[in-house]
Symmetry: C2
Subunit: 663 residues, 2 copies
């Protein structure tokens, strides 16, 4: 038996007994402490800095006998991330093991905060024909004269007579309730039927309301839309952070976590199932408050996610989609009993998992596809769906290609020095005056635009959509040039060099922030964004080449990111080939819309399976033209043949970033 | 919290702490003590007599401080069964509650003993086409060039190409293993496919052996036949007492147990599932000794039972088949995942539950039907399948009728004073010399015929098949007349009156027995047998009338009972209308044969479903002619129009017996 030590986290005040040798990060996860872990244990992001306040003492009495003892030396990996300005006692939580009682302080910058969910449901226009419907039957009570017919047979016969549904079967646990429910309902019952095939619920008397839940599991955010299947209306929306975030902020970190921990896959699967059960309980609370399992009122569930989230949710080993040749376990849609997955909706109901396209293009992209229906359109449409990764769909009724772009998590604020998720305190919109180079910005949670002169604003960092803004604005204001290089002599004290001699732009002075540090945009941040937008641009370009397309008729921006991006900034940066600004359309959470459509109309499920196979997946990284296109696409805005000295820098930067994305 | 008391059962030596107020019978069941409980708690059979040796003392130390304290007075129900010759301290275990520490002795007569199983498998002649088959695939390892195909899709595609099987799906938990098994087998795998539809197992490399289990759950005995599905051979047979016996020896006792105990249904369902898991583990031991779940080697299972066992096995409330209008929950065959039932064969496999005919005619009778295939024959065949109840099938290719006869459990030795199951010590064959009225008998476990002069034989009781013998022999020897009445002046000291003045025949003197009591056949025993055989005869007669059949071409005797019955004795008694003795055929465990056939050839499953509906169930008890026919059928042998004074006696006897059978 290993020893255990007492660990307290401040300012949260969480405490517990932790086994010797556990990292502080793991301890924080065990105790439910809000602590960022962007890279998920790989010791590369440096976001999980904590301050050891007291520790390594001998006595049991934690409160009284604490004395400061220096923790063991940090290793080289760790020291890379720790700066003198961080102050004394700072360690990376992922690297520092527990070998004695500890008191740990989590600085505000290291706290993840509550995500602001930006996945509201829009009105859909779709014919109602759900996979799950309710039917009420009134039977003649049996007598000795028709005693040779069982309850099952009696119900099935009547369903054929009254509703024309032939060959229905009963889910076995539902059959177990049939006898008593028939008698409780005095021979009037309501049956819930899945796909005109299986009876998945039986209730006494007449019941007409029928609920379904459409779920979109993002790498960062999960959202559930509770729908009334008789009207198609969204009754309630509930969202939460993906509870897998503590095991890694991006897809590859989670695949790595699954590979390097024997119980890693199960831990993450349990986390998402538990999380979805919370969403289920909360979302249904509006309509059904009583009973031990309110979620049982939900009779259908559709779900979309990227391929890694898909595999982890199902308990499939995600390692094979993380390494060449990137083979998924299954592509087609699946219908799995809720009870087999442990989801607390009606246990007899099926969870409909939408199909995936390929190893990198998931059910969420299929959701986008069936929601936007490029395949019914004459115009050549590009859809950019950016969550934590970027996925592209290009085409029209003749042909659609898809690809996944290794944008890295820059658009979500990760790998950006002051990047953060869309949470209160995040700068979400930026303008820079070209004359003075002075910025104005908007912070989530506050209505107005701010400048320095207005005093304390409590900014904390920069979220994804603002990164686009600020880089575009820096370019337009002449703070950076078209290669992304800082113009040091642009005449502003906001443009300066950091301790290591690297250029940066001060977006907010320390006194405007809640973290008492200047919030800056660094040369590295600009480069990360250039890589990300270059990846998107290259993906589009190569797909266009493959398809012989020279011109886009329309660009649709989808996803949480897509809903908040400034269309002009995205054009300025050159995230996609030129198109008139009125042909750039923000379509919101199209992946979630697709899940809802599959919930409301069962033919959309068939369409999804067919179209997922019909779409032509293009692997960008193996295209011979990739290298050249990618390097050209890094410019702001994209300027063909004007490529200068970017190549050497690119070679240096690309490898580790690409590696961290593809594993 | 209620108090607990120490209880010791002798001579078994089982002991335990039992909650106050528990009956001694329940305590015996909890501690696994072998104690008869024919009526299953209804206080009517009087078979569970025990002797309180010491009890109702105060101290903890059970061994040292025991002192004899008189237990509370027995009630009237109980006193009815307790005779002076039983000796002091005798109580009915089902009626006596525990209110202090106890030492209880179980006399040999009250011990159930180990059943001798008489359900050996005979050779079947049937084309092999099992529902479950194994297929080996060798796949080309995927490369970056075919990365858009998932493992699932790759396997399904190849199965179509190699074996022509289209549209296969994966059982969800099997899908979870696919990725790793493909790689472990270096892209050679063996798939187990159910009904050319669903993949229920995936194994690395080439596997060719495939096992299935055919199960026959009788009211008293369960048997499992392990078959090699590639040869059709029975590899191993394993049987056991039905572990539900402690909750009631017959169907109605168990239905009553389910009704009167809140957890009764679940308790009995758990008992049979646990029992079948024991059979699974033992039966597979021959072929697979290792691993924590040897039973997982079994990929298919078919099962037959009567309607009540069927309902209890599935967890369906059996109460509605026990009372008018006797409606079963379901009649058609069911395919239920082994994991949903908790049976420890391959968890992805389906348990195929054969269809039932009606409330009283179960899947076991359907098994008889598809094994004997009356519906393909020109001859008019009567099949009598007697387990704890009697079921009849009458017909030929044009039409088959079925019925269930309330024979009562007399044929199995219950409700017979010295009746017992077919266990060591049971008298199984009897001959009586017409001149001397002296018997010769055969005891299970000993090869020879015995008479008194040979001394101590350790007979214990009379089993079902011997009851037929002895009554037929008594009639032929003139000990009873054709009305079943004893001939007191037949000139033998073996014919005498008991303490209550009722006639009886001494089959074995006390010194030949292990129970030190004369084993007798009483007037009541003869009457019970007359009722039973009368029920069979009446059932046949009424079916013949309904069908316009005047003559039987053949009689087939099926079941454990049918395998051991003396054909001549059954004719002598008049169990069925006259037929030449060479047209009486013993067919063995036809119900089990039917289960095996459904295992070996999937078209037999379709045949079973079709024929179960095609057979015409005849409810004997509601036929207007029943009363009259039944009363006439009581004679030995059946003598139409020679009915004398039986009617008054019948009225008196029939009601309580019929009630105990139908509830």
């Amino acid at each position: 038996m290993s020893r255990k030590f007492k660990v307290i986290f401040q300012p949260a005040g969480r405490r517990g007994e932790i086994e010797e040798g556990t990292t502080i990060l793991k301890a924080a996860q065990l105790l439910g402490v809000d602590l960022e872990a962007l890279c998920g244990d790989k010791k590369v992001c440096g976001k999980c800095k904590v301050r050891i306040e007291e520790g390594y003492f001998e006595k049991d009495n934690l409160e009284s006998s604490m004395s400061h003892i220096t923790p063991p030396e940090a290793g080289a990996d760790e020291l890379k991330h720790i700066k003198p300005e961080d102050g004394p006692g700072i360690r990376l939580a992922c690297s520092c093991e527990i070998h004695g009682d500890l008191k740990v302080f989590v600085p505000e910058r290291s706290r993840a905060g509550k995500q602001v969910v930006r996945k509201a449901a829009k009105e859909l226009s779709i014919a109602l024909d759900p996979a799950v419907k309710k039917y009420t039957l009134t039977l003649t009570p049996p007598t000795l004269h028709d005693m040779t017919t069982g309850d099952y047979e009696r119900v099935v016969m009547e369903m054929e007579k009254d509703y024309g549904l032939k060959g229905l079967t009963f889910d076995y646990p539902v059959l177990l309730q049939l006898q008593d429910v028939l008698r409780e309902g005095e021979w009037t019952i309501t049956l819930t039927v899945w796909q005109d095939r299986e009876i998945v619920k039986v209730e006494p008397g007449h019941v007409d309301v029928c609920y379904g839940l459409a779920v979109d599991v993002g790498t960062t955010t999960c959202v559930g839309y509770l729908c009334d299947l008789s009207t198609g209306k969204v009754i309630n929306t509930e969202s939460m952070m993906n509870p897998q975030v503590p095991y890694g902020e991006d897809v590859m970190s989670r695949i790595t976590y699954a590979m390097s921990n024997p119980e890693g896959l199960k831990t993450m699967q349990d986390a998402i199932i538990t999380g979805l059960n919370e969403i289920i309980d909360k979302v249904v609370n509006e309509v059904k408050k009583d009973g031990p399992n309110p979620g049982f009122a939900i009779d259908d569930l559709t779900i979309v996610f990227n391929t890694a989230m898909h595999h982890i949710f199902l308990g499939l080993n995600p390692v094979y989609i993380g390494r060449s040749p990137f083979i998924p376990a299954v592509q087609r849609s699946l219908d799995i009993k809720a009870r087999d997955l442990g989801l607390r909706i009606n246990p007899g109901s099926f969870i409909h998992v939408l199909p995936i396209e390929a190893g990198f293009v998931g059910a969420d992209n299929v959701g986008v596809l069936i929601a936007q229906e490029q395949y019914f359109q004459d115009e050549m449409v590009l859809i950019i769906d950016i969550g934590t990764n970027g996925e592209l769909l290009l085409g029209n009724r003749d042909r659609v290609c898809s690809t996944s772009c290794a944008t890295g998590p820059a658009f979500e604020g990760a790998q950006i020095k002051f990047g953060m998720r869309a949470a209160p305190g995040a700068i979400e919109k930026v303008k820079i005056d070209p004359a003075t180079k002075e910025p104005q910005y908007k912070v989530i949670g506050k209505a107005d635009w701010h400048t320095h002169i207005e005093g304390k604003i409590n900014a904390k960092g920069i979220c994804g959509s603002a990164i686009i803004d600020v880089v575009a604005e820096m370019f337009k204001a002449g703070v950076i040039d078209k290669t992304g290089k800082f113009v040091m002599d642009c005449g502003s004290n906001r443009v300066r060099k950091d301790n290591a001699g690297k250029p940066e732009y001060v977006l907010a002075w320390a006194d405007e922030t809640s973290i008492n540090q200047d919030i800056t945009v660094t040369q590295g941040d600009v480069r990360a964004l250039q890589l990300a937008k270059g990846a998107l641009y290259t993906g589009t370009k190569l797909m266009m080449q493959k398809m012989g397309v020279t011109r886009l008729d329309r660009v649709e921006l989808a996803g949480a990111f897509g809903s908040h991006i400034d269309r002009e900034a995205s054009l300025t940066l050159g995230m996609f080939p030129d198109v008139p600004i009125d042909k750039v359309v923000v379509v919101g959470n199209a992946a979630g819309d697709g899940a809802r459509m599959a919930l409301l109309n069962k033919s959309k499920r068939i369409e999804a399976d067919e179209r997922a196979r019909w779409v032509n997946f293009v692997e960008i990284a193996t295209e011979p033209a990739f290298e050249k296109e990618f390097m050209m696409a890094m410019h702001i805005p994209h300027m063909k043949d004007k490529f200068t000295n970017l190549k050497a820098w690119l070679e240096e930067q690309k490898a580790p970033i690409a590696a961290s994305i593809k594993g």
